[in-house]
């Protein structure tokens, strides 16, 4: 897979290329350059650390949308067993911008296996896939499928984990015709009301109402380089600043990063990402998410359904 770099990552390219060259050279077996590779890798990692120490909100927004960033199904593949995807809202169609199903969360200790319902937004990787997933922008059917699954989870007393990664709910003709507003409102209502633990994790883009619909968990966590906002920086720049060149400024004003929102007490925790972002090491990123799920559900499971429902109501009435 071709490596893709964001603007601010450009200084890393040269070192990455050198390392690649040396690795190819090494394969030929003529001279041993292992030490040099190690040196360069250390140098590169330090450079990445330095760059990431100082990245701003706009760079983090770009990372949250990185074309190689792991999506919901990537995490599901890495952290679950026996995932069985369920489809359709039983009313109109199956929205592929939302995926959901029951599974076990892998537990390295080999002991008790945690059953969960995972529901998340799903983006596509290549052009065809992106179209099929509608760029992770659900129609009402996606939200209604989610409601159906939330209710099923409640029926079986299975905890719910939502993975949030959407630019927003789809602004289209059919979506409006079939009640996008009602679908989002009812999803918030349903997820607040279910009598099981709910854990919401923002893994990429948390775009407005389309994200909030899955975001009313007892605990709300964000991956280190994800964002969560009422409007995209581009939208904010165009509507409020009346100047699209003010996107970076808007991203600062909106306080949309995990660090910002943890500081504002809007989220409960930050899940660390590997050096350079989740896409640099999917396995490690997944494992951090897996641990966060085990830890938080372990805590939430101590409470009965009614208490959990009231806890969510209380939590969201405090803002």
């Amino acid at each position: 897979m071709a490596l893709q770099y964001l603007d601010f990552e450009k200084p890393i390219i040269e070192l990455d290329q050198k390392i690649e060259e040396l690795k190819t050279f090494n394969l030929s077996g003529i001279t041993n350059v292992d030490d040099e590779i190690k040196n360069l890798e250390a140098k590169r990692d330090k450079l990445i650390k330095d760059i990431f120490k100082n990245i701003g909100n706009w760079q983090i927004t770009q990372l949250s949308r990185h074309p190689l960033r792991p999506y919901t199904l990537d995490y599901i593949e890495l952290i679950t067993e026996n995932f069985i995807e369920l489809h359709g809202d039983r009313l109109f169609m199956d929205d592929k911008a939302v995926v959901g199903g029951f599974c076990f969360i892998k537990d390295s200790s080999g002991g008790y296996r945690q059953r969960v319902l995972i529901v998340g937004h799903q983006k596509g990787r290549n052009t065809k896939d992106k179209m099929c997933r509608n760029f992770g922008m659900p129609h009402p059917e996606g939200y209604r499928k989610a409601q159906r699954l939330f209710k099923l989870a409640e029926k079986y007393s299975i905890p719910i984990v939502t993975l949030i990664d959407t630019p927003g709910a789809y602004p289209g003709l059919g979506a409006e015709e079939r009640g996008q507003s009602e679908a989002i409102a009812k999803t918030i209502y349903t997820l607040l009301d279910v009598k099981v633990p709910v854990l919401s994790i923002i893994i990429g883009e948390g775009g407005s109402g389309g994200a909030l619909a899955f975001g009313v968990g007892n605990k709300v966590l964000m991956l280190e380089y994800s964002v969560y906002s009422v409007i995209s920086p581009e939208g904010c720049a165009s509507i409020l600043y009346k100047d699209v060149s003010k996107t970076e400024e808007a991203s600062n004003s909106l306080k949309l990063t995990a660090k910002d929102l943890y500081g504002l007490k809007v989220i409960d925790g930050i899940i660390p990402e590997p050096l350079g972002g989740a896409h640099k090491n999917k396995v490690l990123a997944s494992d951090n998410i897996r641990k966060a799920i085990i830890e938080n559900l372990g805590y939430l499971k101590k409470y009965d359904g009614e208490t959990l429902r009231n806890d969510r109501i209380r939590k969201f009435t405090e803002y």
């Binding site: 709910a169 789809y170 602004p171 289209g172 003709l173 979506a175 409006e176 015709e177 079939r178 009640g179 996008q180 507003s181 009602e182 989002i184 409102a185 009812k186 918030i188 209502y189 607040l192 009301d193 407005s208 109402g209 909030l212 975001g215 009313v216 969560y228 906002s229 009422v230 409007i231 904010c236 509507i239 409020l240 600043y241 009346k242 808007a250 004003s253 909106l254 306080k255 949309l256 929102l261 504002l264 809007v266 969510r312 109501i313 969201f316 009435t317 405090e318 803002y319």
Partner: protein, 279 residues
């Protein structure tokens, strides 16, 4: 005698100036209406039935029994938690709109009677930052439900809003969750929550409490939807059908219960309350 004056006081060339004085032009049918007559007709065009947008105070006059409406929760004041500045400081916008409307934020909440039936209500005022929902709006709606639970009253919310207040960032988004949480709490008491949607009701308001009424009533031809029509046009690169996202379109697609003209809303609310409130 100057009968027609444009809004900014300057004569506009080539088109009919919009009068500010005694006469007003209907934006829908261009009829020139005598202002007093428009008032008598509840700000509805006598020729084409276009419902002009009205402020919260005027709606209180129209809906509630005379002198019955008591404002509540007036001490909740807006805060600029994010220290937000776009082309203007958010603090300055608040001051300006407060001066313009005489309100502290975009809603009035309180208790009043409709044909002697007591109700708790919140009414949006579109003139205050486009009726946008920030923490004050969310809190007043929350308090309205809370008050109604305590006093065992039905709730009516009259919406007119562009959606979430972007200047309050994530906190405005959280008001969607907050208001929905109170709709959920309100089901404890078996009393009606009626949502009246007026022109326009979009975005975070439409996608939260406003779409969750036990009964949803719309004024004629009100724009109601999640995304604004311009955003949709830009996204799908095609023009939208006539009447798209208007009340009549929503009724046809099963999204609202009824369309009621302004002159009939009070009576409709009364009849609904008589049926749904168990004494």
């Amino acid at each position: 005698m100057l009968l027609f004056k444009s809004k900014n006081g300057k004569k506009e060339q080539g088109k009919l100036a919009i009068p500010e004085g005694l006469w007003i032009k209907c934006p829908s049918c261009s009829e020139i209406i005598y202002k007093k007559e428009l008032e008598r007709n509840l700000e509805v065009c006598p020729k084409c039935n276009y419902h002009f947008r009205i402020n919260a105070d005027r709606r209180i006059d129209i809906i509630f029994d005379e002198g019955s409406f008591k404002r509540l929760f007036e001490d909740i004041m807006p805060q600029d938690l994010l220290d937000f500045t776009d082309t203007k400081k958010y603090k300055d916008r608040l001051k300006e709109d407060s001066k313009k409307t005489g309100l502290t934020d975009a809603v009035i909440s309180g208790e009043g009677t409709i044909d002697k039936i007591r109700v708790a209500a919140t009414l949006f005022d579109f003139n205050f930052m486009g009726g946008s929902m920030g923490r004050v709006v969310g809190e007043k709606i929350a308090k309205t439900f809370e008050y109604a639970i305590q006093k065992k009253l039905p709730v009516i919310i009259f919406s007119s809003s562009g959606g979430a207040r972007m200047q309050e960032g994530i906190f405005s988004l959280m008001q969607m969750a907050k208001t929905v949480a109170f709709v959920s709490e309100f089901k404890k008491v078996s009393l009606p929550y009626i949502s009246v949607v007026t022109d326009p009701t979009t975005g975070g308001v439409s996608a939260s409490f406003a779409s969750l009424g036990d009964v949803i009533i719309a004024e004629p031809k009100a724009l109601i939807g999640f995304a604004g029509p311009r955003v949709i046009e830009k996204t799908i690169h095609q023009s939208l059908p006539e009447g798209f996202q208007r009340s009549e379109y929503l009724l046809e697609h099963g999204m609202i219960d009824m369309i009621v003209e302004r002159k009939d809303i009070k009576n409709t609310l009364k009849n609904l309350l008589l049926l749904l409130v168990n004494e």
